[in-house]
Symmetry: C2
Subunit: 402 residues, 2 copies
């Protein structure tokens, strides 16, 4: 049986353990396994936001827009692209929310395939993605072609093959499933989608900051994701958007604002979109949000995404091992093959809702997912093996109490 | 001739003078007359953001979403609506940017008048408004009907009468013109637009926080505006959106996300929009941005919007008086009738660009507007009469130097 001392030994040997001190943490919660919903705040983020408030805003006031703020969406976008996405400069921006960005990308993608009639998406996808696919299909006179994957495997090449055709305009896929954690091979599926002349949008909400990505190498068309999970950008931090360079000249998004115009300060009488990735912007940049994303990205760059992935795998392995020792039959929904999962582990068990609530009431915070799943989010820069052990230990005791 | 001592006397008699201490200010800039581009930071905002960072984010983590964050868009929206818009609860939200919100409102308004073919807008309107009117008309197979007002008067009843018809779906108007400061009577124009069965969207970017508004009383349909000018919400703070209660059941916006769904946590397979104002939301709320808006609104509530309007008029009167004493013929673009202007004064003069740049280089910050205008933004909670006098005095000296 794995013991608490085993967990402590793993923490002692963890090369990323020191990064916990770079975040503001208190004794409560005792264990936080929900960094895949909202990551913890880096201390550097608090310092940077205070600098923006007291120096850039209070001190320089309007002059800060020309002293750097105007470039923040692309400057931080480039950094996030390079460190986290495998994207060279000029293809990534930080702006708006995942929902708004996905709306723009779906319209842009469909606009690039004007003679095609179908948007392909899976019915296990996150609600926003499904809702948008349906409403945009309706807005454009197209239809949604649904696929119905198993939660444990998510979208497979076979499933895709059963729906892809010359009618497919775009496929929208979550790379890491938000419930099961099942992870999909970006390279293979992108190639399969391109074979029929369709485009792909990868939703990277549960991948970015914890999984290695090579969007340029894999010839991805579009990608989107949030920054408040493993990037630790804070509650409601702005999302990112990736548009491959080859699509920039023709990609049209419908929310045309002064920030997407070719010369935003010319206040021109006719709208001409910027020729750069700025054409994907709309309104005024959320400065506080973008600098928070910047600090999150810098911290990941310092730790190294490869080292983060190594610890992520160790944490998920450890969690699955503990669940297997539970001595009550608990279904592990997450793939047991480390190459096929992201950084959370989801189990299915009776009374999952009540157990989650009881754990949270005692200061150990996992995440409940309808109808009967508990999700353990493992954020390599902040999650310790001891936190995982403590949560498992109490959860197990609760199942015996029933 | 008005002297610097006259300015000091006005400051000494100003009942709102003490509010300057509620903002974080330094000796540089010497004079800041651009609070209508970016307001100054309230000290309370800095404290509130730090509380959110260190307590709600770092301390409560994900639990803060159920402890109040989820309600922030409507809670702060209600407060802004009550204090600044004359709107009862349930009709205002804080979300996204002005551009994104205007995109939603234009689609919602056109959707409520499906048999009508025209969007009416003036060609002096802010670029985002014009660009969106054009792109949404194109998206919906409609056309834009332009009106061309004089800068000094903005949209008039006569101009409107010349284009309104049974084809008009919606009219989009800036209540205070961003260049001239000309202010329009919401009540009269709303009634005129309703007479032909059309709807109105008021863009309140240059009104909110400094002009009295009565959206409910005036039977306004929709309104939108930013919060980083007179509301002092900070760079890129989220915007607000007002939808009259009578339209809530039928108003449909296209960016359908999990935050606009009837039960956002049910993750339902079919999208059903919320029946409340939440149907206008899309993605995750920008927490830091919304609490900053909240503190800005609270400060205005404390000072009183009526007192703010009184000082605003005094500041604009004082500015116009100084310009009249310039002894070089300077055109005042802003209406001389206080009832017909907002809170900035715009003048037209030779070398406006160079004079603005020189002023800014010497720490006095007005705003340049193409092609030959200088705009003096007068923010009653933070602008002193001495700041106005100093800026005028140096600008006048510069015109003599030419």
């Amino acid at each position: 049986m794995t013991t608490y001392d085993d967990a402590l030994a793993l923490d002692a040997a963890d090369p990323l353990a020191a990064f916990r001190d770079r975040f503001l943490m208190y004794d409560d919660p005792v264990a936080y396994l929900d960094g895949n919903s909202l990551g913890r705040p880096p201390k550097a983020t608090l310092a940077r936001i205070n600098e923006v408030l007291t120096q850039e805003w209070a001190g320089s006031l309007i002059r800060s827009w020309s002293d750097g703020w105007t470039e923040l969406p692309t400057e931080v976008g480039d950094r996030l692209g390079e460190v986290l996405l495998g994207a060279t400069a000029g293809q990534t921006v930080i702006a708006d929310s995942t929902t708004v960005n996905l709306f723009k990308l779906l319209h842009a993608a469909c606009g690039l395939r004007p003679d095609r009639t179908e948007i392909v998406i899976d019915d296990t996808n996150f609600p926003t993605d499904r809702y948008l696919a349906e409403s945009i299909a309706a807005q454009r006179g197209m239809s949604v072609r649904w696929i119905s994957p198993e939660l444990t495997t998510s979208v497979t090449p076979d499933l895709l093959a059963s729906v892809l055709s010359e009618q497919t305009a775009v496929v929208l896929i979550n790379q890491v499933d938000y419930r099961s954690g099942a992870m999909i091979d970006v390279n293979a599926l992108t190639a399969q989608i391109h074979e029929v002349g369709a485009l792909v949008i990868w939703d990277l909400c549960h991948s970015v900051g914890v999984v290695s990505l090579n969007l340029d190498r894999d010839e991805v068309d579009f990608a989107v994701g949030c920054t408040y999970k493993y990037v630790n950008g804070g509650p409601g931090a702005p999302a990112f958007m990736y548009v491959a360079k080859r699509h920039l000249a023709a990609a049209e998004q419908p929310i045309t604002g002064w920030w997407s115009a070719q010369d935003m300060f010319a206040m021109a009488s006719t709208y001409l979109p910027a020729t750069s990735i700025r054409r994907m912007l709309s309104g005024t940049a959320n400065v506080l949000g973008i600098v928070a994303v910047d600090e999150g990205v810098k911290l990941i760059a310092e730790a190294g995404l490869d080292a983060i992935r190594v610890k992520s795998i160790a944490l998920t392995e450890f969690t699955i091992k503990l669940v297997d020792e539970w001595h009550v039959p608990i279904e592990v929904v997450t793939p047991r093959d480390a190459a096929k999962r992201g950084s959370h582990v989801t189990i299915r068990l009776p009374h999952a809702r009540r157990i989650t609530d009881d754990l949270i009431a005692r200061g150990l915070v996992p995440d409940f997912r309808n109808p009967d799943m508990i999700r353990f989010g493992l954020s390599p820069l902040t999650t310790s093996f001891a936190e995982v052990w403590n949560t498992y230990d109490l959860a197990r005791a609760m199942t015996f109490e029933q």
